[in-house]
Subunit: 477 residues, 3 copies
C-alpha cells in the first residue's frame, strides 16, 4: 500500500476526491482536466474589499491569516475544549487572549488531527500544499517548521492580496456589503487602476430586519448615505431603491437577503407603515419584525424586477446560538446552528406574485437539506424566476455536494441551478473551494456517463456549465 501512504502524495494526487470506481474516476479526470485552469468566477462571498484597496497590504503572520479569522477552524478546537482565547480570538471587552502567533500556531498544529476527513481540513491542506508548497503533514513535530515557511512567504511581495488575486486567476469576485456601505474600498480599487474585478453586493438585512442589532442607527446611516430623510414607509422604500441604484452604479449585479426562515407575506402599505412607526419608537414586537421581513423579501423581489438585480435568499441559520460566546466574542464565531425550514408554503406569496416573471432571478439557499428534493427542486423545475444556489455553508463539502446533486438534479435539471459560489470569508481558501467544486462536479457528471445517462458530448457541456457558464449567466456577470 506504499502508493497511498504519504499525505503529500495524496494531496497532490491528480484524481483526488473523485469517485474511486475506476471508470467514473477515469472520466472524471478527463472532465476535470478540461476545466481545472478556467478562471475563477466568484459571484458570492465575504471577502473584505479592504484587502485589495492598497497595493501593499499584507495578510500578517500565519496565525493571523489562517487561524484567528476562521470560525470554521476554531469552532472545532472549541468543541474539544480549547478556549477561543488560547488561539487569539479577540474579546469584545478587550480581555486577555493569546497574542503570540507561534503559540497559537502550536496549539492548532497539536490538534490538527481533529480535522481528519473534514471540509476545513481539506481546504487547509490544499492551501498548505498549493499556496505555500508545504510538503509535510502538520502536527506537533512539524508545527514550527511549517509556520516559518508560511511566515516567510507571507512577508514576500508575491503574497500580497493583489498578487494572490492575480495568481488565483480570478475573473470576477463579488463581495457582500451592507446597504449603507459607501463602498469606499471598492472605489479605491477602481480608482487605483489595478485590473482586479471586484464588485459589491447589496445586503439590506440590517435595514429590513427590524430586530437587527443597532437598527435605529442603521436607519440614521441610511438617511445619511441616501440623502433621504427616512421617517416612514415611503421614504424607507425610496432610500432602499436609491441605495440599490448606487450599488448598481458601482457594478453590483445582485443583492443578498438573509432571514431565519423563508417566510414571505405581503403587507398593505398602511400596515407596513404602522409597523415601521412602532419600530422607530422602539416598540416593534417580534411578530412585527417577522411580518416586516416577510414583506420586505417581497419588496426586494419587486425591486429586482424593476432594476434587474439578481436576488439571493439565504435562510435557515439560527444565529448566535451560544450567548456566552456571543457576549464575549460577538457574532460569527462558529455558533450559528441550522434550523428546519419550509419553502412550499413560505415562498408561495412571493412566487405567486413575482415567480412567473422572467425578469426576476431568485436564487435560493438552504441549510435544511430536507428542502432539496421535497420543495426546492420542484419549485425550481416550475417557476421561471427560481434558481437553486449551490450547497451552502456546512454543506459545500464533498458529501454535501454529493447530496445536493443526488437529491435535486433529476427534478430541477442542471439548468435551474446557479453554478458555484465559494461563499468564502478566508481569501486564500478560494482556490481550494473552486478546485473541490470542480472535482466534485466532474465526479458527478462522470458518474452519469459511467451509468450511461449522458454521453461525453453532453458531459463536456455540463462541466463547462457548472464551472463558469451558469454562474456568469445567472448572476449576470
Amino acid at each position: 500500500m506504499v502508493f497511498i501512504m504519504a499525505k503529500k502524495d495524496l494531496i497532490s494526487s491528480k484524481d483526488r476526491f473523485f469517485d474511486s470506481e475506476p471508470t467514473t474516476k477515469w472520466i472524471a479526470q478527463e472532465l476535470y482536466d478540461s476545466v481545472k485552469d478556467v478562471p475563477i468566477v466568484s459571484p458570492h462571498g465575504h471577502i473584505n474589499p479592504h484587502l485589495f484597496a492598497e497595493e501593499n497590504s499584507t495578510f500578517g503572520n500565519p496565525s493571523e491569516l489562517i487561524i484567528i479569522p476562521d470560525h470554521y477552524l476554531y469552532r472545532m478546537l472549541y468543541s474539544q475544549g480549547i478556549p477561543m482565547e488560547a488561539v487569539g480570538v479577540p474579546r469584545i471587552d478587550g480581555g486577555e487572549t493569546e497574542k503570540d502567533p507561534r503559540k497559537i500556531w502550536k496549539i492548532f498544529a497539536d490538534n490538527f488531527y481533529l480535522f481528519r476527513g473534514t471540509l476545513t481540513g481539506i481546504w487547509l491542506e490544499y492551501e498548505f500544499t498549493n499556496l505555500f508548497g508545504i510538503k509535510r503533514k502538520l502536527n506537533s513535530e512539524t508545527a514550527m517548521e511549517i509556520y516559518d515557511i508560511i511566515d516567510k512567504k507571507l512577508n514576500s511581495p508575491e503574497y500580497s492580496p493583489r498578487k494572490m488575486f492575480e495568481s488565483f486567476n480570478i475573473e470576477v469576485l463579488c463581495t457582500t456589503d451592507s446597504a449603507t456601505d459607501t463602498l469606499e474600498y471598492h472605489k479605491k480599487i477602481r480608482d487605483s487602476g489595478w485590473k482586479g474585478k471586484i464588485l459589491p453586493t447589496f445586503r439590506p438585512d440590517a435595514i429590513v430586519n427590524l430586530d437587527s442589532v443597532g437598527w435605529k442607527k442603521n436607519i440614521e446611516k441610511l438617511s445619511e448615505v441616501s440623502c433621504i430623510d427616512v421617517h416612514d414607509y415611503k421614504t424607507f422604500i425610496k432610500s432602499l431603491e436609491n441605495r440599490r441604484q448606487f450599488f448598481k452604479s458601482m457594478g453590483a449585479t445582485c443583492t443578498d437577503s438573509a432571514a431565519l426562515i423563508s417566510y414571505t407575506a405581503e403587507l398593505s402599505e398602511v400596515e407596513a407603515n404602522n409597523i415601521l412607526s412602532r419600530a422607530f419608537k422602539g416598540e416593534a414586537t417580534d411578530e412585527d419584525a417577522k411580518k416586516f421581513t416577510a414583506h420586505m423579501l417581497m419588496e426586494m423581489a419587486r425591486m429586482s424586477i424593476e432594476d434587474g438585480m439578481v436576488m439571493q435568499l439565504h435562510c435557515g441559520s439560527y444565529r448566535n446560538h451560544n450567548p456566552i460566546i456571543y457576549k464575549k466574542f460577538g457574532p460569527d464565531k462558529g455558533c450559528d446552528i441550522p434550523i428546519q425550514d419550509e419553502f412550499t408554503r413560505n415562498l408561495k406569496p412571493l412566487l405567486n406574485k413575482y415567480g412567473n416573471d422572467t425578469r426576476l432571478t431568485l436564487i435560493l439557499f438552504t441549510l435544511d437539506e430536507t428542502n432539496y428534493a421535497r420543495e426546492m427542486a420542484p419549485l425550481a423545475g416550475h417557476y421561471p424566476a427560481v434558481k437553486l444556489g449551490p450547497p451552502w455553508w456546512f454543506h459545500d463539502s464533498i458529501n454535501g455536494m454529493i447530496r445536493y446533486r443526488f437529491n435535486m438534479m433529476e427534478t430541477a435539471g442542471l439548468y435551474n441551478t446557479a453554478g458555484f459560489n465559494d461563499d468564502a470569508r478566508s481569501f486564500p481558501s478560494i482556490p481550494a473551494r473552486h478546485d473541490l467544486s470542480r472535482r466534485m462536479d466532474a465526479s458527478w457528471i462522470a458518474g452519469l456517463v459511467a451509468r450511461k445517462i449522458v454521453d461525453m458530448d453532453d458531459a463536456q457541456e455540463m462541466i463547462n456549465d457548472t464551472t463558469f457558464r451558469l454562474a456568469k449567466k445567472t448572476y449576470k456577470l
Copy 2:
C-alpha cells in the same frame, strides 16, 4: 473514450443505469436479463381507458403524443421561461396557443438539452430509441427529421393504442377512475372482445374531500349513478359502498385516496352528519373539510376490510401552487409542489383501529422522503395492514429509487413493499418506466450480492418479487 461517445450506443447499452462498479454491474446484468422480458403488471396509473375503447383510435401527431399532455415535460420548459402557450398547452378560456405541431416540436427540440440527467429525459430517450427506432440525438438540427420519423409511425396501424398495448406485453393495466365514473370505456373494452386486461380503480377524492372543486355537483352525480338519494351521512356512506361494489363488479381490486397530509381521525356519526349538513348548505369550513377527509380515510379502511379492496393512500402534494397557471390552464400543469408530511401520529387512529387486521392492505405513498426511514419503514415493519408503495412522482427516478431502497429496506424488509407502480399519464412511457425500475432493482439487489448480504439464489427470488410477484400479490391481481 470512443466507447461512450455516441448517445445511441449509450441508450442501447445493455448495462445502462446499473451501478458502474464492475462486480455489481455484472451481477445486475444477470438479474436484469432474467426479468427483462417478463410481462408488465401495472397496478396503478392514469392512462385514459378511452384510448383502448375503439380498435382504431390513434395518438395523433408527435407533439400531441409527447409534448402537449405531459406536464413533466413542459414544466421544465416553463421553468426556463418558455410560455406554455408556445408548446400548445390548451387554455381554459380558449385563448391563443400554438397549433402547429411542428413549431411546437422545434421548440422542444431546441431545448432538449434542459433534460440532461433528468428522469423525463431518460424516459423520452427510451421512447425515441425503443418505440420509434430513432438513432440520432434530439436537438435543433435533428428536430424535424425525428418528427417525421415518429409522425410516420404514428400514422401506421401498428402504432394504435391497442397494438402498442400488445407490443408492450402488458399483462394487466389499472386505470384511476372517479367514484362517480360509469366506466363506460371499461365496458366498451370488455364488450369489444379485445383481450387487453384493463381494470378500473375506485378514487373517491372528489366526493370525500369537501373542498373539491364542484363538490355539490359531484354529490348529485353520485346520487344519480348510485341510484341513492344522497342527503345525509347514512346515504352518503351507502352510496359510496354501492359504487365500490359496482367497481368491484367491473374488475377493480383497489381504491386510491389522495389527501394533502396523512391525517386520520374518527368522527362520531353525529359529527360526520353535522359536517355533511353544513357542506350541503355550502357552509363547511376548512376545519370541517380536514376532519371529514381524516374520517373518510378511516371509513375507506373499514370498507376495504369489508369488501376486500386494497386501499392506496397518496399524500403530500400541494396542488395548484401557482394560481396564475391554474386559472389559465387548470389543474395538473406541473404546479403541484410537495410538502412535509408525518405518518406516526397522523395515521395512528386508522392503524390502531384497522392496522392489525390482516384483511386490510393499506399501501402508503409519500412525497416527503424524510418519512421513509423515520416512519414508513418502521410502520410497515410492524402493522400487518401496511405496505410501502414504490417511490412516487418526483422520486421514481434513478436516484429516487436508490434513496427508497437505501432508506427503507433494512427496516421494512422487501416483503412489506407493494412492488412497482408506473403511475403513468403518458401511455408510451410505460415500458420506459418498467425498464428503469427493473434495472434499478437489479442494481440494488446486485449491490447486496456484491457486498455479500444476500446470495444469488435469494437475489433471483428478490428480482422476481420486485418485477411482478409483489405487485400481483399486494394488489390481488
Copy 3:
C-alpha cells in the same frame, strides 16, 4: 457466478459488507484486519445482568434464546400476519401462546426469507455461523436440523452466559438499570469472583417522567432505596443524587435519559415543586409532565457536571404506538415508532447553561436522521459538552451507518463522536453487532483513503478510534 452462490461462503467471506469497489474493499480489509480481534467495549446496552449472576445459568432452548425475547424479529413476522402468540411471546393476561419451542422454530424458519437484506437477518446469520457453526441456510427444510445443532450446543457448559462473555472477548459491558434498582445482580457478579467486567448505568426515566407507568410506586421505591423520604422537590433531587452516588460506587460511569423529544427548559424551584405536588396528588397534567421532563434533563446535566457521570440522551421514539399489542403483551414488543425531533431550539436552554462546561459529556442519540447534518453535527462541532452517539436502533444497520458517516463527519469531525454502542437486548448478538460496526467503519475510512482524503497513517488511527479508543474515552471506561 459459482463463487457467490452459496450462503455459507458468503457469510464467511472475509470482505463481507465492505464497499465493493476494489480499491476501497482492499483498504477496508487491511483496516478491518487490524482491529477485528480487539476486545469488545460495550458502553451502552440492555443485557440483563441476571444472566451472569450464577455460574451455571443457561439460555434455554433455541427459541427462548433467539425468537421469544427479540422484538426485532417477531415484529417482522407480525407485519406479515403471523400472530405473536404463534411464536411464543407471553401474554400479560396469561392467555394461550405457543409453548412448543420446535413449533415456534419451524414458523420462524418457514419465514426466514422475510429477513433478506435486513439488519436482523444479518445479525442472525452471523450468530448461526460464528456462534453455532451452522453451515446451511435456514428454511423450512433445514429448520429442525439447525434447531437440534443449536439446542445441543446450548446444553453444553461452553454455552453458558459467562463462558460466552469470555469467548466474545468483552472488555467491559454496561447494562441499563432503573434509578431504583438495588443492583443485586451486579453485586453478585462482583462478589462471585468472576472476572467479567459488567457495570451498571443509571436510568432515571421512570422517576423523572411523571407520566411513567406506576410513577407513584416508583417514588415509593425511590424513598425506600435512597433512605430519603421523597415528599417534595428538594427530597426528590436529593434522593436522585443519592442514587447516582450509589451507582457510581458500583462502578457506573454514565447515565441514560430517554424523552419523547429533546425539549429542555428550566423551571424555578417553586414551579418544579408545584408540579411535583400535583403529581403526588395524581393531578399532574400532560403539560406538567412535559415541563418536568424538560427541566429534569437540565438537572441531569447539572448533576453530571458535579459527579462526573457521562450523560446520554435518547430521543424520538413514540413508545407503544399500537395499543392492542401493548394491552396484550406489554411494552417493548416492536411497536415503538420514531417521530420527528429538533435539537437546535429544544436543547438550547440546556446547552446555553451547561454546554460550554468541559466537565459535562452529553451524548446525543436520535431516531430522526434529518437532525444529523442539520443540527447534531453543527452542535457537536461547537459545544464542548456535546458528543454524537452512534446510529441508534433502526439505524445501526449497514445503510444506517453509511448515512450517519455521510451526513455528519465532515461537519462534526470524528473526534466529536462517542464511538460504537451495541445497544443489544440479545446477548448473543453482541459480536455480530461489533463486527458489523468494525466492517462498516473500515469501509467508510477506506473510502476516505481511496478518494485521497486521508492517508493510511491517519486511517489506522481512525479505525483504532472508532473501534475502542473513542468509546473508552467518552464513556470514561
